[in-house]
């Protein structure tokens, strides 16, 4: 049986684990559009948005944001509404 200290440690780890929003490469969306949407949705600078777009293009997918679950869900909805391929994941044990 786990001790109280161990349980608290596990709980803290689960809470602290950030949710990640990943943007996936796709052959249809235009590069300029992806940059524009990253700027509009996340408020990223032109430079940062371009850097992310190129990373997605090169690596197939890239984490574009991480943090609290509700905000991550909001962002992934915005990306899907813009017809961009995005997924959300949490590396912690439970949600």
């Amino acid at each position: 049986m786990a001790t109280e200290t161990e349980i608290l440690e596990e709980t803290k780890t689960a809470i602290a684990e950030p949710w990640k929003v990943l943007l996936h490469n796709d052959p249809v969306n235009l590069m300029g559009y992806v940059v524009l949407m990253l700027k509009n949705i996340f408020g990223y600078s032109d430079e940062k948005a371009s850097e992310i777009m190129l990373s997605v293009h090169k690596n197939g997918k890239t984490v574009v944001w991480s943090g609290e679950k509700e905000t991550a869900e909001f962002y992934v909805e915005q990306l899907h509404s813009a017809q961009l391929m995005a997924t959300i994941e949490n590396t912690g044990a439970s949600s």
């Binding site: 249809v28 559009y33 524009l36 869900e73 509404s81 017809q83 997924t87 994941e89």
Partner: protein, 179 residues
């Protein structure tokens, strides 16, 4: 086709009969709800299949997805409506005589609709990735083949790619005007 930027609107001017037909057909084709492949791409669940996200998946299907589907439908409805206002020059002898005016506030709706059409076309047809010139050259040769079936297939595929590319050019221009 000429693409013009004016103070409050973007203008697709000097469209030929064929270019207008391509654009109208692509807008008609943009309804991804009629395409399983299109739906699978546009309405994919962002949490994946893992049982770990069972609750999130359920919320996505119940609350988020309908609003996204509704947004895409609204975009299609607005753009289809605005196609009713295509202007035609009175000079019948002109080859390029159609003009479409798009208010700047509606450019992203147009982008959305052309994108829905391109996504559906990409998922359903054999659209080549990357450099297409070689593919187009091969298709052009096949359109003059002695075999009727080869000619018909090549003409059909050529038209699909030209529609896809034409919409891509218009979208690229729209984004450059908005950026």
């Amino acid at each position: 086709m000429i693409l013009l930027s004016e103070e409050n609107q973007l203008v697709i001017d000097k469209l030929s009969d064929v270019e207008l037909r391509f654009l109208e057909e692509m807008i008609g084709y943009s309804d991804v709800d009629k395409s399983d492949a299109g739906k699978a791409r546009l309405y994919a669940n962002p949490y994946g299949e893992s049982i770990k996200y069972e609750n999130e998946n359920s919320d996505w299907e119940e609350y988020v997805l309908p609003s996204i589907e509704n947004k895409f439908k609204e975009d299609r409805d607005v753009v289809k409506d605005s196609l009713k206002n295509v202007k035609k020059t009175t000079n019948e002898s002109e080859e390029f005589q159609y003009k479409i005016e798009i208010e700047k506030g509606e450019v992203l709706r147009w982008y959305s609709v052309l994108n829905q059409a391109r996504i559906r076309l990409y998922e359903e047809e054999n659209i080549p990735d990357g450099e297409i010139q070689e593919v187009l050259d091969d298709l052009l040769i096949d359109t003059e083949d002695n075999n009727l079936n080869t000619r018909e297939v090549a003409q059909e595929q050529l038209e699909v790619i030209l529609k896809y590319e034409m919409c891509g050019v218009i979208q690229d221009w729209m984004i450059s005007e908005l950026a």
